[in-house]
Amino acid sequence: MASSSSSSLSRVVVKSSDNNLFVVNKKVASQSQLLKQCIDNMEEKGTNDVILIPLSNVTSNILTLVLEYCEKHADFADDDNNNQELKQWDHEFLKKFDYATLNSLTMAADYMVTKSLLNLCCQFIADSIKDLTVQQIRQIFDIKNDFTPQEEADIKNENAWAFR
């Protein structure tokens, strides 16, 4: 790889938890605050070497998805989140996934500090669970009901209109 004369990096290498390497250009990587911070730190030191960023919490399957998202969003300005084409793309992008994948993607977005993807995932999950019963929500989030029947009934009574 030809190194540029200035201390500005053009690409970084990201390593997934299952040891796969991804070459990512800087503009795409900067969608993640975690990667951007690493790049900024290296640039401050004035290095010309290609840097390797290991992500111990993200598998290559999920990293591929995060990078697909970052690549699409790197083409749009920061304040372009209301762009209709982009919104449509976002929706189509998330629609494909089951809850397990959404879960991992949300965690990766949180870990990699990709705020817009995290917001998107949270909104998508909220929209898709809102019509579910309390029991179904427990199943999806793998939560055990730790209320006594009396406690649960009390909460329902307090907010009776919401359970109609």
């Binding site: 809850y99 397990a100 959404l102 879960n103 949300t106 965690m107 949180d110 995290l118 917001n119 949270c122 909104q123 999950i125 909220a126 929209d127 669970i129 809102k130 019509d131 309390v134 929500i137 427990r138 999806i140 989030f141 793998d142 939560i143 055990k144 009901n145 730790d146 209320f147 649960e152 909460i155 329902k156 009574n157 307090e158 907010n159 209109w161 919401a162 359970f163």
Partner: protein
């Protein structure tokens, strides 16, 4: 999805519509603790402040029910909040809104005297409501005004009641006085603040205009100077201060002859109302010239700075400009429009800031209403735990 960190769970739940959010309290103990925590309630509030689908326009209809419609679907028929009509009091108007809570009036007793209304705090999103202990109105009152806001220093919601009184001495002068009382939601009781002889008499605006959640403003008529003045009441330190008016020539009721002399033709500027738009004080004026009249909307761009008053727009639509009162309701950034209402005949208008055009808002299915207010969706509680009225 068992492994999501609590911050992310919180981020997901805060995006649920209020109904489903309340349901989620029964999922498990940690979700219950999360959703009822102050931190989460404030996070949810901040998130909703930013979204236009969580801003509501509320109507109190002449059948004493509340109706609501969201800002991003103003054209659709408002939803009747039938939980109140079935279970709660009937409402006849609004006295202010803050953090998703509304100050509402009710004349359940079929009382004709509006100053003797019952006063409620209402959260139209969670259907919680609370009747405020009734205060007697002094006999010699001229008018009674309310204001509602939040004191962040003590984390308390407060209602202010101002009564303007007239005392006449036998064959002597007449004195105006101002009595101020404060209700604290935490203490659930009223407290006397002051009663003093005041040069500031009748209130030209009914409800306190709230800025920054804790600064309430009223317009008074200064008797000796014969002009309008704006005073602000700080809910945190419970002190009054003065806010400068814009630098237009005010020609009051008594001396518009002066105006005649100045300008040759008949010219008069009235102050119609004080309100709030987008967290800024907003003053409505009316200029009458020859047979034309138009309404000017001023905003104070920098709080407390006289020079920062700017005239935002002029409305010459006769349906608006001839109205007795013009009151700003809200600014919608998304649609770049301003909502305001007119009285006595109550109508809601929208002013398109780009096209500079006024249109009356048609409200399908709601023919008659006596109050309208903006409010956001929140889960700010009105009832402490273990205090639920079944």
């Amino acid at each position: 999805m068992g492994s999501l960190p609590i911050d992310v769970i919180s981020d997901i739940l805060a995006r649920l519509p209020v109904k489903y959010l309340l349901r989620s309290k029964s999922v498990c103990k940690s979700w219950f603790t999360l959703i009822t925590s102050k931190h989460f309630i404030n996070f949810h509030l901040r998130l909703n402040t930013l979204s236009s689908s969580d801003k509501l326009l509320l109507f109190s209809s002449s059948d004493h029910s509340l109706y609501s419609v969201t800002f991003d679907s103003l054209e659709s028929p408002p939803t009747k909040l039938s939980y109140f009509s079935d279970n709660g009091p009937s409402f006849s108007g609004f006295g202010g809104s803050c953090n998703g809570l509304l100050l509402c009036f009710s004349n359940d007793n079929n009382n004709n005297d509006a100053s003797n209304n019952d006063v409620y705090l209402v959260n139209p999103s969670t259907f919680q409501y609370r009747k405020i202990p009734k205060l007697k109105v002094p006999k010699s009152h001229v008018c009674v005004n309310y204001g509602f806001g939040y004191d962040h220093k003590t984390d308390d919601y407060k209602v202010i009641r101002i009564v303007i009184l007239v005392y006449g001495c036998e064959d002597g002068p007449v004195f105006n006085a101002r009595e101020v009382m404060v209700y604290s939601l935490k203490a659930n009781s009223w407290r006397f603040i002051e009663e003093k002889i005041s040069d500031y008499a009748t209130l030209a605006s009914r409800n306190g205009a709230l800025v920054n959640n804790h600064l309430l403003h009223w317009m008074f008529w200064c008797i000796s100077k014969k002009e309008h003045r704006i005073s602000s009441f700080n809910l945190c330190n419970e002190q009054w201060s003065e806010i400068p008016m814009p630098d237009y020539v005010e020609i009051g009721l008594d001396n518009h002859r002066k105006g005649l002399e100045c300008n040759g033709d008949y010219k008069k500027i009235d102050v119609l109302h004080l309100g709030v738009l987008d967290e800024r004080l907003c003053l409505l004026t009316r200029k009458v010239q020859n047979n034309m009249c138009d309404v000017g909307m001023w905003v104070m761009k920098e709080y407390g700075v006289k020079k920062s008053w700017v005239k935002l727009l002029n409305i010459s639509d006769l349906n608006v400009s001839r109205s007795l009162k013009v009151v700003p309701i809200a600014y919608s950034e998304r649609y770049s429009e301003i909502l305001f209402r007119t009285e006595k005949e109550l109508n809601v208008f929208r002013y398109d800031l780009k096209k500079k055009r006024t249109t009356r808002l048609e409200i399908p299915g709601l023919s008659n209403f006596d109050g309208v207010s903006a409010c956001i969706r929140s889960i700010v509680p009105l009832i402490c735990h273990g205090e639920i009225d079944a």
